[in-house]
């Protein structure tokens, strides 16, 4: 190891100190929140029947682990989210490519896409139930409906902002529009495809939970609705906690994909 100068050493110490404070504070906030919640429930400041408590949630979780029902609910929600996410990515890339190929088509479709994108998609869920029935397909479609239009618009706009000179280059090498797509447009849009994926994974989860609210027989969304109807708030709050963890996990999954891509480039 080479010797570090005093200034550099000082800077590194400062940096480590900063990181440590951030990490410790984050954990402290979580722990004190859980402690206050537990404490308030135990001494009767809040009604633990309504507000539950960390220990009740943990017990409830453990119980469901023992009878294995938790794996079913988490598994179903994860499955529906991932399937709708993959379908959204595939369909929105295809749609964006189609729009990119025909400027006229994209101009024609523009107002429809804008309207569909700004429509609150939860309004569609009851309709989907009637049309497609209360099953997993409906829930997957509900998940897709939340993400797909924004995803198409984002990808299309990133396709169209590719440096036009790079596309001219393809033509000067006697390529056609298909070559421009595969050699320039898609490769240079990969960073924005990944950032669209980051947004979509969260949106798909939202859509799937909405779908499970009204059409689910299993899954975390179903547990939340069922828990609220039978006043089993332990279920409800536990499901919300698990949703938090799933959302974080899926997001970091995309981050990992991004990092693998960046390392390759």
């Amino acid at each position: 190891m080479n010797e570090l100068s005093q200034g550099q050493q000082h800077y590194l110490n400062q940096h480590r100190r900063h990181k440590r404070i951030v990490r410790v504070s984050r954990i402290a906030i979580l722990l004190s929140f859980l402690f206050l919640w537990e404490f308030a429930a135990n001494v009767g400041m809040i009604d633990s029947f309504i507000f539950s408590s960390p220990s009740r949630i943990a017990l409830c979780f453990w119980g469901m682990v023992l009878d294995k029902s938790i794996f079913l609910h988490v598994g179903v929600t994860l499955y529906e989210t991932l399937v709708s996410f993959i379908l959204v990515i595939v369909f929105s890339i295809l749609a964006a490519v189609l729009l990119w190929f025909s400027e006229r088509l994209s101009e024609i479709m523009d107002p429809y896409l804008v309207v569909l994108n700004s429509l609150p998609k939860s309004a569609l869920a009851p309709l989907l139930i009637v049309w497609l029935g209360a099953n997993k397909t409906t829930i997957i479609v509900a998940g897709m409906s939340v993400a797909i239009f924004g995803s198409i618009l984002n990808l299309y706009s990133s396709f169209t902002t590719v440096d036009p000179e790079k596309i001219t280059l393809i033509y000067t090498l006697h390529g056609n529009r298909f070559h421009a797509l595969t050699k320039v447009v898609i490769p240079s849009s990969i960073p924005s495809i990944i950032s669209t994926m980051k947004v979509n994974i969260g949106l798909c989860l939202v859509g799937v939970v909405i779908g499970e609210f009204i059409g689910g027989r299993e899954g975390l969304g179903y547990m939340i609705i069922y828990g609220s109807q039978v006043f089993k708030l332990d279920w409800l709050l536990m499901s919300i906690c698990i949703l938090c963890i799933i959302a974080m996990g899926l997001y970091s999954l995309i981050n990992v994909i991004e990092r693998i891509y960046q390392k390759r480039v």
Binding site: D163, E165, K166, T168, L169, I170, Y171, T172, L173, H174, G175, H179, K183, V184, P187, S188, I190, V265
Partner: protein, 255 residues
């Protein structure tokens, strides 16, 4: 008629909602094989448009372009085009950038790949074959872009102000460099530039265009007494100044 490229009475205009902008009017000239032609003119006069027409990226509104006696569309003559900026794709290595044209034209033979390696080697980029373009200097990038064009073995090379993005020092060196490469490969070339000294130092013939709508206002044959005509030597030759003044007056009649 032994012109490799012939333009007859070319007209071109750009259209938008505000109206029509005439870019080129009655442009006619021919180029013989192995000739190096420079086209100069005020900026924005339609020089690049002319190259786009020759490359077939645009269709002339009126007039004919013939390559080896055939119409542009039917001709098998290969045209190479070097753009203002190198336009190297950052996600590809230098070697794979050089192969881009071959990939597109489905010509990725072992022979073509060997040719690419050889050109990289000759022009001092062999050590950077697996590097990303961001690791190259401006001049090296421009050379890589030229190799990407040359590996397709074009019969005619179009150069659209290929040095304008470089700083002055690099520009002289790269201009010299690329001029020599083109002479060595015995290519027919058309260079578009707004830099008079660049045109005089490189070309056999200079076509001077007027302001928009561009017409040809003069054609100047450039000959130097000395046998040794590297671009940098030309810049110091006594004829250089004469040509410079001649064309300068043509471009700035009011001074």
């Amino acid at each position: 008629m032994d012109y490799i490229l012939e333009l007859k009475d070319i007209n071109y205009a750009y259209h938008n909602m505000e109206g029509e902008t005439k870019a080129l009017e009655h442009i006619s000239f021919g180029i013989k094989e192995g000739e190096f032609i420079a086209i100069v003119g005020p900026s924005g006069c339609g020089k690049s448009t002319l190259l786009h027409l020759i490359a077939g990226l645009l269709e002339p509104e009126k007039g004919l372009i013939k390559l080896n006696g055939k119409y542009l569309r039917d001709s098998a003559t290969n045209i190479g085009y070097m753009l203002q900026k190198d336009e190297l794709l950052e996600w590809r290595t230098v070697y794979h950038n050089v192969l881009l044209g071959l990939e597109i034209q489905h010509m990725m033979t072992a022979k073509a790949k060997a040719k690419a390696r050889e050109l990289l080697d000759i022009y001092g980029l062999d050590q950077f074959a697996n590097a990303k373009p961001s690791e190259l200097s401006g001049g090296m990038r421009q050379r890589a872009a030229l190799i990407r064009t040359l590996v397709l073995e074009p019969d005619i090379l179009l150069l659209d102000e290929p040095f304008s993005a470089l700083d002055y020092q690099t520009r002289l060196n790269v201009g010299d460099d690329i001029g020599q490469i083109i002479r060595k490969e015995k290519k027919t070339a058309i260079l578009v530039t707004h830099d008079l000294s660049e045109a005089i130092s490189l070309a056999d013939r200079i076509i001077v265009l007027s302001d928009r709508p561009a017409t040809i206002c003069q054609t100047v044959d450039v000959t130097f007494d000395s046998k040794e005509t590297s671009p940098l030597k030309r810049r110091n030759a006594p004829e250089f100044k004469t040509y410079f003044n001649l064309i300068w007056k043509e471009l700035n009649p009011n001074e």
